[in-house]
Structures are given as C-alpha cells and as structure tokens.
Amino acid sequence: MTTIKDLANKGNLFTQGHRACAGCGGTVILRLLMAAAGKDTVVVGATGCMEVVSTIYPYTAWNVPFLHNAFENSAATASGVESAYRALLKRKKTDKKINFIAFGGDGGTYDIGIQSLSGAMERGHNLLYVCYDNGAYMNTGIQRSSATPMGSSTTTSPAGSVVKGKMQNRKDLTEIMVAHNLKYAAQASLSNWSDFVSKVEKALAVDGPTFINVLSPCPLGWGYDTSLSIELSRLAVETHFWPVYEYEDGKYKINIKPKQVKPLEDFLFKQARFKHLKNEPELVEEIKKSVEEKWNCLLQKESSCK
C-alpha cells in the first residue's frame, strides 16, 4: 500500500500557489490524484473552480502537461490527446507509457459534459475521468446541478418560503458510468485518502476507460468552517450519504462499511445549505429514505455480483 511518505516523495505535480479557497476539497483531490498518477501523465481539465484556480496566466500549478479546452468537453478533449498518442504509437514515434486523465466538477460532468463523457467512455479510450463532485456549480456562484443533493439550498434552488431548496434527487452518475461497461468505476472520499489513491492506481493500470467520482467538500458552497472539510467527507461516508465503493470487472465492492452508521442529520446540519431543513422534518425523512435505499441497493449489487 502507498504510504503518505511515498506520495510525498513523488514530488509536487500539482503545486502550491494556486488560488483555491482555504479548505477547498477539490485541490486536495487533485494533489492526491497527481501524487498517485505520477509525472508521466497528461491532464485535461474542464472549466470550473479547479481549472480557474490552477491556471491563472502567466502562472500554473501544474507540473505535468495540462490542457483546458472548455466546460463540457474535457472527456472528448482527452480522448483526442489519447488518440494523438495512439497515432504516435502506431507510427512508432514513441514508446513511452503515458497516463491520460480528464477531470471536471459535477457541473462539467453530470450536466453539461455528460454527453462528451459518455461518448469518450463508450469509444473505449484509455483514460481515467475524475469527477470532483462538490454538488453545485461553485465557480459561477453555487448554482444547482444534477448532483446537488435534495433539499440543498443553492443560488438557483434557494430555500424559499414556499420551495425549500432543491426538490429533486441526485443523479447517480457513478452507476451511469457502470452502465458503460467500464472495467473500473469507483466512488471515493477524501476522508479515506489511501483508498482514493489506490483507486487511482487501479484505474490507471486498466487498459481502457475508467471513472472515479470523488466527493469534494466546498466550504463556501456548503457553508461550513474551512477546517471541517475532511470531517465532512468522513461524515458523508459514515452516514451512507456518499458510499465509498468500486465496480471492478463486473463486481461491486463497498470499500467502507461504517460500523456505526451515523444519523444523516450529523452530516446535513453542519452545513448552511441544509440549515432550513431543521424546520422540514418530512423532507429530511424523504432524503434519509432515499439515501438508505441507495445504500441497500448497493449492498444488494455487492452480494448478487459475488
């Protein structure tokens, strides 16, 4: 297993000096991702907070080749870079092994980029797509996305006197990726960094498209103190809100099964985006119900695919 020391020794491929907010989960994801992937990696990033904070001209936080094209097309763009690489291999102009990683926020992945992602996955390019899911369009000021949890207040699903935040459930993107017959798809959480790192290593070892969805706490968007990002990642896992699992060669494995499941309220009420739900017990029950349904469904999948 990779230790923190091993990771530290891999050098800073995603460096300090970027402009992310204090407590930003996304940049921690990128740092771990790059530590796991190593230097022989080309990264394509979608428009969104992570691209914006890391590439303000004439500076860059990237010590690997980094390409940003637009918001909705990081997967298609990466599929092009990977195709250029295959063309080089075919013409025997290179024999290097290179990793290809594309990333996007939940907006760039679940919503506007899902077509591009689906296409790239279906075509079978040898690339890893990482979604950092902070549950809203943070870069443009916390608008709802299809990854925004039910009940969450965002600037386009505000908690109003009539409508209490977002009224729809999250889209299950990881399962949509599984439905693409990927050899490897997973969900990870920063609270379990070594699990995330080994997932990146596994995904990159696969010859073909792979996908990892990582929960990305956002102090500003979720409304919590910047010191609590990892704590919230942990609570998300311990409340079953964010199952940490993987789908590998047709089999499901839930990597973290909390011994003592915590009440969802422990996760919800540490965040301002859910605070209006304190007066909405029925809505909280509905959210809890759907979280548990998802979890049970996952358990079933795990046991039926054994």
Binding site: K39, D40, T41, V42, V44, E51, V52, T55, I56, Y57, P58, T60, W62, N63, V64, P65, F66, L67, H68, N69, A70, E72, N73, A76, T77, A78, S79, G80, V81, E82, S83, A84, Y85, R86, A87, L88, K90, R91, T94, K96, I98, Q115, S116, S118, G119, A120, E122, R123
Partner: protein, 391 residues
C-alpha cells in the same frame, strides 16, 4: 505526374484526406458532408491510412477531440456542415485562440430553421469571426487542391483552416478531377509542424489558461496581427503550391476584369455560372466581368478594391444573410473595404440561393441588368435585393 479521375466534391475531399494521411480524424456525420467521413472511415478500416479515427457522439466532441489531438502534436482533420459547424461554434474560437493547426472540410449548407439540407453559406459565414482561415471552392478540383494546400497553410501559420464546397452542387456532383500521386502530396505537405505538444511529458506546459484583464488583450491583439500578416503568407503559399504542384491559383480570381464596366462578385460554385454568362455576354460585346474571392477570412480588402474600383457597378451575390437589414456577408465586407476609397462604384447586394434555391444563368443576367440600372440612377437605396423569391 497526375491522373484524371471522376469524383464528387466529397470524394475529392476524402481523397485529399487519404493522401495527407493525418494522424487523427475525429468526425461526425451530417448531410451533405457525411460521405467524407464515410469514405474516410473505409480508408481507415482497409488500412489505406495510418490515421486514428475517432467517431465521436457529436460535432462538439469531434472538434474538441481534434483540439486534444492537435495539442498532442498530431496532424488533425475533420469534416462537417451546417448544424454541425454551428454546434462546433464555441470550440472553433478555442481552436484558433490556441493557435492549433487543423483543417475542416466544410460543406456549405443552410442553417435551421426551417431545417433544410441544401446549399447556402450561412453556416460558414456564421463562423467568420472565429479566427479561422476560410477558403471557398468552386468545384471538386479546387476542393481537392485547396484541402491539400490548407493543411500546409494551417501548419505554416498556426491558424486553423476551413475549406468549403457548396452542398450538393459540388459535394455530390461528379466531375473531372486531376489527382496527384500520393507521394507528391506527402512530400508537399511534409513533416507535421506543431506549435507545442502536451504529449511532451518531459517538458510540461499548461495550455488553455485563464487569462484575465492583464494579458487577454495582448494575446488577442497578437492573434489579430498574425491574421493580418497571414495575408501575405497565404499569397506566398498559393504561389508555392502553384509552383510545386503545377496549378494556377490566385487568391482572388478575375475574369474579364481588365476593361469590365460591370462586375459580379461571387463565392464558390456560383462564380462558375457567372463566368459562363460573362463569356456569352462578352461575345455580344458587353463589358462585364466576374470576381471570385477564394478566401473570405482573412478578407483581402485592398486587393478586392484594386480589382473592382474602376467599374461602374458591382453586383455582389450573397448566399447568406446577416439579418441586420444591411444585406449579406460578402456585401458588407466589400462595402466597408471601399470606405474612403477615392473611386466609389455603385454597389448592390443580391441575396440568392438560400436553402439551395437554384440560381440560373438567366437569374444572373437579370442581376446584371439591375446593377446597370442602379448605377445609372441617382438612387443609392435600396441596395439589397432578394432575388429568385416567389412573389
């Protein structure tokens, strides 16, 4: 050595692509350009090219993948038309802004609504400000030659280039085509040139940065200046192509313009119809001529003025409208080219052929009559006329 074959415009462009043998082609089908990708994918699957073919799920992804491939140092081509080009719109600007060489074989077709699959120039004109070099072709031969030439222009200047034909009129019409040997094309296009390469993992660079108020203006000004400089280089590259490939192309083609009193200005296939008419009228002693700009972007304004300033009347044929109440794209370009010129011939725009509406020799003859009347009258308006429209 060249060989004579019979090919449609689409076949001719696909043949040029085969001979160029690009590293990556990412494309999506759309009438009337579909055949280009179809034919090319048979080349791929029959092992006639080394290209990695990326059959994307949309044109947006096609050009996005092309950007990725070009940034990865690959020689890249694609093909599209109409709604496909419109769907690429956002990424067209990014291609040019990143200064990536790329060639699109674009088949001109009307834009919806109403949906229509036939020729006009609204799709290409809709992307005229994206920073691409835009080349029009009159026939399959020009489409074939200019596709090969475009690859060179693109890699010499680091500007993306779209080479267009007219939907169905050229794309589907079989005509005589003189093709080069594969080797000639290969040696003409030469080794691929790339401005940078994100596959160079030992020299990592960041491409597509966020550039704010402090540098954006410089970068865009530089791009604009490079486009200005590109004009001379394009002329040189056309001359170089003529020399190496034994052709005789000019950036603006003139027919009977030495002593013409009235001129028709047209892009693409319609120029051929106009030329035919002029030949007939010249036999009757009428001093009429035709001007066919091959390149719409960059616009060769002083060159156009120099050719046209001595006529009495200019009839501009526009196969697209700007919906601005001021006529079509070519007309607006030409009108502003004449600003503060000492000689000011009468000029009128004739919007024609939208959605594939046929344009006949007789229609252009009527245009000539009209421009004569217009230039003899004291009137300056209306200077835009929609022709061949059902009353």
């Amino acid at each position: 050595m060249s060989n004579i074959v019979a090919k449609t415009g689409n076949e001719a462009m696909a043949e040029a692509m085969r001979q160029i043998n690009p590293d990556v082609v990412a494309a999506y089908p759309i009438t009337p350009a579909t055949e280009i990708v179809q034919i090319f994918s048979t080349f791929v699957n029959d092992g006639k090219v080394d290209t990695i073919f990326v059959p994307t799920e949309s044109e947006h992804s096609a050009i996005s993948a092309c950007i990725g491939a070009a940034a990865g140092g690959a020689r890249v081509m694609t093909s599209t038309s109409s709604q496909g080009l419109a769907l690429m719109h956002e990424i067209l600007y990014i291609t040019a802004g990143l200064r990536l060489p790329m060639v699109i074989c674009e088949v001109n077709r009307a834009l919806s609504a109403p949906i229509n699959i036939h020729c006009d120039h609204s799709d290409t004109m809709g992307s005229r400000d994206a920073g691409w070099i835009q080349i029009f072709s009159e026939d399959s031969q020009e489409a074939y030659d200019q596709t090969i030439l475009a690859m060179k222009i693109s890699e010499e200047l680091f500007f993306p280039v779209m080479v267009t034909t007219d939907g169905f009129i050229i794309s589907h019409a079989m005509s005589r085509l003189e093709v080069f040997d594969d080797k000639e094309v290969q040696s003409y296009v030469g080794e691929h040139k790339t401005p940078y390469n994100v596959l160079d993992i030992d020299n990592p660079i960041t491409v597509g940065s966020l550039v704010l108020q402090d540098y954006y203006m410089e970068i865009k000004t530089q791009q604009a200046h490079e486009m200005m400089k590109a004009k001379e280089k394009i002329k040189e590259l056309y001359a170089d192509f003529n020399k190496k490939m034994k052709r005789n192309y000019s950036i603006i083609e003139e027919y009977f313009m030495e002593d013409a009193e009235f001129a028709i200005v047209a892009l693409g296939s319609t120029a051929g119809t106009a030329r035919y008419l002029c030949e007939k009228l010249r036999e009757k002693g009428e001093k009429v001529g035709v001007v066919k700009p091959r390149i719409f972007r960059p616009f060769f304004a002083p060159e156009m003025v120099a050719i046209l300033e001595n006529v009495k009347g200019i009839a501009v044929l526009d196969r697209s409208d700007m919906m601005s109440s001021t006529g079509g794209h070519l007309f607006n370009e030409l009108k502003s080219s004449f600003y503060r010129n000492s000689k000011q011939p009468a000029m009128k725009d004739y919007i024609y052929g939208l959605g594939g509406r046929d344009i006949t020799v007789g229609d252009i003859e009527n245009v000539l009559k009209d421009i004569k009347d217009f230039s003899n009258s004291k009137e300056t308006t209306p200077d835009v006329k929609y022709i061949t429209v059902r009353e």
